[in-house]
């Protein structure tokens, strides 16, 4: 029932708002919440409880409890008591089968309670195990809160903003406002956040309302939920003024509809001009709670009894109801017919943020609540959260036998007793077993009660029991807000859009976007063998290593020898870890006596740079390492016509004699300065061209243009994989893992164990002495079946190896691959079997490259 206008009410009665509830229109005013409007329209049951489907009604009217959760415009778990009305909103109940008034699943409460005590899921629905999917489906449909529409997709935009202030005040009540004004008067940037959507007067500081502080993290970081904006606020001084939370009493029937907290009833009257009931009983343990009786009388409610728990704490309180609605309450045997019971114990300071910040929380026996006792530097508490509660007194743990401790999770007093009896005798263990404090209120309304009950049952006091660990978020927060904008940084080469324009299928490889193929990878591979192909290898890591100690530095880092590498030459290298395991591979080109150009794998560049820099710091050598990965684009021109094509773009002598295999030349290609390396990953005559990345598209266009009549075409990653596999060239991370070393990977020629020392030398010496546990070999399939990568090599029914790479090769006319095998299977032509789709398929070891085994085409 709507009252006459109240002083200070939040309503704008000149603006009507209509929304729908269960398909029927509900009339409200601007300033209403959905909850207040529904209550004014006569709705009393707002939800059904999590486990037992008991009817629940408004309790707090502040968004702290779970009782008013509904689905609003497709969003589940909206606390409608704090959700402003909006025109056209579609509001539906959740977690019911039938209606709020007649929920068929309430049979769980009436019949199922003996079978569903606390922790029942640890003892039932376990066997037979194969039925677990059914049990899970049953439980999920019977218990729970709202449902998410999995097909809804992203519908709301959330942003994140970083803020730095001098003082952050959390809480916009009297104490918080005072603290903010004082801080502002002292100069500096001040921000005040308040979780309620309130109107504040003009103040000389920034106010964010509603703005919920979610936690206090190291470094003075406080994330604030401001609806669709997450503010990440940093402040060297944080003032917490979060007030205190009224605590429900525990007694039989304490979850009936009509049992409310004093502030809940007060808000209905003062803020929304709604009469909460006709006949009320008031129980309170502090002046503020008891003063609600005046608000009720002013609203025309007949307050038939008021009990000051400081003067008289009854032994037994019991609420009676019908159909879940309150009908009467008995206090020490005296029955009062009523439809509204407004009750609370001593308020509990809302200390969670202070605890998260490292504050010490201690029990104040005189006040019957936990209060902050020591706070770290930069953190302050003011007002009721600091324990300024006025005249209060502790109340009994329970008023009678029975009642709910945690209305979020349907945890009753007997459940806590049972947990203790079963041995969960610490508050942390009992919390996890019973789930008390783990529901939507996160302990705001039940933590103190649970501690009191544990203390009583264990014959000790609340100080001995202590509190559980406070963790963020302090208030429920949407995952979308935490996720923010879906920006995933992607690396693109300067040629990227040429690939897109050519219709490439672009894929992720690490953080890079790369062309998998241009439509037909086998055809691309065949074209490289037939004439010439061009591939963008700009993703390769590229480092300059320069200085008087550059040679010594590389000698120590690599198992390879580089001291004898002459300027103008390039050599393949494999980087090993301290434990002799393969870390990365690439090439090292010596440009001058003291300058080297090192390439790494595309995804290994950052790791290799870090590795180089770390060792440089350890050895303190006179070496500079510069990452030029993005400065330089790179293109590989490969195929029998590669020399002809390149010759059209440069005046440098690239004849077989003038530019030998493994030469490195600095020159110009199509007018652009270029480092040319004659190397080959794909087994054909090849040149790797490195040039300033701003000329990427130009050089690419030039090469394809000049090579058009030769049949030059781009080729992508997939074609490259086929081609390199034909040569049995490894891909680090694909064909090797964290245990692989160069000896076992068929690259023993890399490790120069006669060098004085290098990273991983001792490990490789040990590995050599021990002998291989497995060896990486090439293989071809007997019948053309391409086995899966990762497929098992099987011997006598047991796995003994694995396939790392496999492809069909048109050039070779066979299915080929690389695999790790036990040494006794790794000899040339040995037959073995690979499991493919449940069948065993035959293969044979091939130790030499499948294509051009002597490298004649590569070195032509």
């Amino acid at each position: 029932m709507r009252l006459d206008p109240q002083p200070g009410e939040r309503l704008d009665r000149s603006r009507a708002v209509v929304f729908s509830f269960r398909g029927k229109p509900v009339h409200a005013f601007a300033g209403d919440t959905i909850g207040s409007a529904l209550y004014a329209s006569g709705q009393r049951i707002f939800s059904r409880s999590f486990k037992y489907h008991r009817p629940r009604g408004l309790v707090c009217c502040s968004g702290s409890c779970p009782n008013c959760m509904m689905n609003v415009d497709g969003t589940p778990n909206v606390r409608v008591c704090a959700e402003p009305v909006r025109a056209g909103a579609v509001v539906e109940p959740q977690n019911v089968l039938g209606s709020l008034e007649r929920d068929l699943l309430s049979v769980v409460d009436k019949v199922g309670r003996p079978f569903t005590p606390v922790g029942f899921y640890y003892r039932t629905m376990i066997r037979p195990r194969r039925l677990w999917p059914l049990y899970e489906k049953f439980l999920r449909n019977v218990a729970g809160l709202g449902r998410i529409d999995k097909h809804r997709g992203r519908t709301t935009r959330y942003d994140t903003e970083h803020r730095a202030v001098d003082v952050l005040v959390i809480g916009g009540g009297r104490s918080g406002l005072r603290a903010a004004r004082e801080a502002s008067a002292g100069g500096g940037r001040v921000m005040l956040v308040d979780e309620n959507a309130r109107t504040f007067a003009d103040e000389p500081f920034e106010i964010v309302a509603p703005g919920r502080a979610l936690g206090i993290f190291e470094g003075g970081l406080v994330p604030v939920d401001a609806g669709k904006l997450l503010l990440r606020v940093r402040a060297p001084r944080i003032v917490v003024a979060t007030g205190a939370v009224e605590q429900p009493l525990v007694f039989p029937g304490n979850d009936l509809v009509g049992v409310m907290l004093p502030d809940g009833a007060r808000r209905l009257v003062r803020d929304f001009a709604v009469k909460p009931g006709e006949r009320a009983v008031v129980l309170g343990a502090d002046d503020r709670a008891l003063s609600v009786a005046d608000d009720l009388r002013a609203a025309g409610v007949d307050v038939i009894a008021t009990v000051d728990l400081r003067e008289r704490d009854p032994e037994a309180v019991a609420a009676e109801g019908k159909g879940g609605l309150l009908r009467a309450v008995s206090i020490d045997g005296v029955r009062h017919a009523c439809d509204l019971l407004v009750a609370s114990g001593a308020p509990q300071p809302a200390y969670s943020l202070l605890a998260q910040a490292g504050g010490k929380i201690s029990y104040d026996a005189a006040r019957g609540s936990f209060v902050p006792s020591e706070l770290p530097a930069g953190i302050e508490a003011v007002g009721r959260v600091a324990g300024e509660l006025g005249s209060v007194a502790p109340v009994r743990a329970c008023h009678g036998e029975g009642g709910f401790v945690c209305i979020c999770e349907d945890v009753a007093v007997k459940d806590l007793k049972r947990a203790l009896a079963e041995g969960f005798d610490s508050i942390e263990l009992a919390k996890r077993y019973t789930t008390v404090t783990m529901g939507p209120c996160q302990g705001r309304l039940c933590h103190l009660s649970s501690i009191r009950i544990f203390a009583r049952e264990q014959g000790t006091d609340e100080a001995a029991i202590g509190t559980t660990t406070a963790r963020p978020p302090w208030a429920p927060v949407k995952l979308g807000l935490l996720a923010g904008r879906p920006h995933e940084p992607a690396k693109r080469t300067s040629l990227h859009f040429r690939h897109e324009e050519a219709g490439a299928d672009v894929i992720w490889t690490g953080a890079w976007r790369r062309p998998h193929s241009y439509g037909d990878a086998p055809a691309e591979a065949r074209n490289v063998h037939a004439t010439v192909g061009v591939i963008d290898v700009s993703t390769l890591g590229k480092l300059l290593v320069t200085g008087p100690d550059a040679v010594a530095f590389l000698e120590r880092l690599y198992p390879n020898r580089y001291g004898d590498l002459k300027p103008g030459r390039v050599r393949y290298g494999v980087l090993s870890t301290d434990a002799g395991r393969i870390m990365d591979d690439g090439t090292v080109a010596r440009l001058t006596d003291e300058t080297f150009f090192v390439t790494t794998t595309s995804t290994g560049a950052d790791g290799v740079l870090g590795w180089f820099e770390w060792w440089n710091a350890v050895w303190n050598m006179d070496v500079e390492i510069v990452n030029v990965t993005g400065a330089v684009s790179a293109v590989n021109v490969a195929g029998p016509q590669a020399r002809e094509l390149l010759g059209r773009a440069t005046t440098t002598d690239i004849s077989a004699e003038g530019f030998r295999y493994l030469d490195a030349r600095e020159s110009r290609v199509a007018g652009v300065p270029c480092l040319m390396l004659r190397i080959g990953f794909v087994g054909e005559l090849g040149y790797e061209l490195h040039f300033p990345s701003s000329y990427g598209e130009y050089v690419w266009d030039m090469l394809l243009g000049l090579g058009a009549e030769l049949g030059a075409k781009p080729f992508g990653l997939e074609a490259q994989r086929i081609l390199r596999l034909e040569k049995q060239h490894i891909i680090v991370g694909q064909d090797t893992d964290s245990e692989s070393n160069v000896l076992d990977a068929n690259m023993s020629w890399i490790a120069k164990l006669d060098k004085d020392d290098f990273v991983g030398k001792w490990a490789l010496e040990h590995a050599k002495e021990r002998g291989p546990r497995e060896l990486l070999v090439g293989f071809e399939m007997a019948n053309g079946t391409v086995p899966p990568e990762g497929g098992q090599v099987v011997r006598a029914g047991l796995p003994c190896g694995r396939v790392t790479s496999s492809r069909w090769s048109d050039q070779v006319g066979k299915a080929i691959g690389l695999a790790w095998l036990p040494p006794e299977l790794a000899a040339e032509d040995t037959a073995f079997e690979i499991r493919v789709n449940g069948r065993l398929e035959g293969a044979r070891v091939r130790l030499r490259p499948f294509f051009d085994p002597d490298g004649e085409r590569l070195k032509t």
């Binding site: 803020r163 920006h487 940084p489 080469t493 993005g630 199509a670 007018g671 701003s694």
Partner: protein, 161 residues
């Protein structure tokens, strides 16, 4: 001694019928944008060690006591490379850059305290160097992330519209 010309865009030449042309890595990402200025083709040289730079036309952004990023016209990069042989590397192509205005936009891009620039920080999840200018804030980042960063900036501009 390698002049590392293959890193320097300024070393390109029109010759033998070829006329090299450069392109900014941000060209496509900035199409149709507002309030964003492309700095990618600005000359940028990283200089290491202790050095004193004198003369107009060079702006020094200190990254660490021993590393600085020097901004200049592209044609003047060669001058720096000659002045500091072995210490200077042409990063013109390595780094893309944008200049933008708007405090709120910047606060959505980075948590850096913008009153203390130049500085290095993450912008849109990418390592960057930031410097103040008359027109706002200049941000330099690895060019391979260029398109991604500009996409993120434009998306955040939409959120503020």
């Amino acid at each position: 001694m390698s002049g590392l010309a293959f890193i320097s865009p300024g070393a390109a030449r029109a010759e033998n019928g070829f006329e090299p042309r450069t392109a900014s890595p941000l060209a496509r990402a900035l199409e149709g944008s507002r309030g964003l200025r492309d700095l990618s083709l600005l000359g940028k040289v990283e200089v290491r060690g202790s050095f004193l730079l004198d003369g107009p036309g060079f702006e020094v952004l200190r990254i660490t006591p021993q590393r600085a990023l020097v901004l200049c016209e592209p044609a003047r990069c060669a001058e720096l490379l000659e002045t500091y042989p072995g210490l200077a590397v042409d990063m013109t192509c390595a780094l893309a850059g944008i200049e933008l205005e708007g405090d709120t936009l910047m606060r959505r891009l980075t948590d850096l305290d913008l009153s203390r620039l130049p500085a290095a920080a993450k912008v849109a999840g990418v390592a960057a160097i930031l410097a103040a200018s008359d027109r706002g804030i200049r941000i330099f980042f690895a060019q391979e992330y260029g398109h991604s960063v500009v996409e993120a900036v434009r998306d955040l501009q939409e959120g503020l519209a």
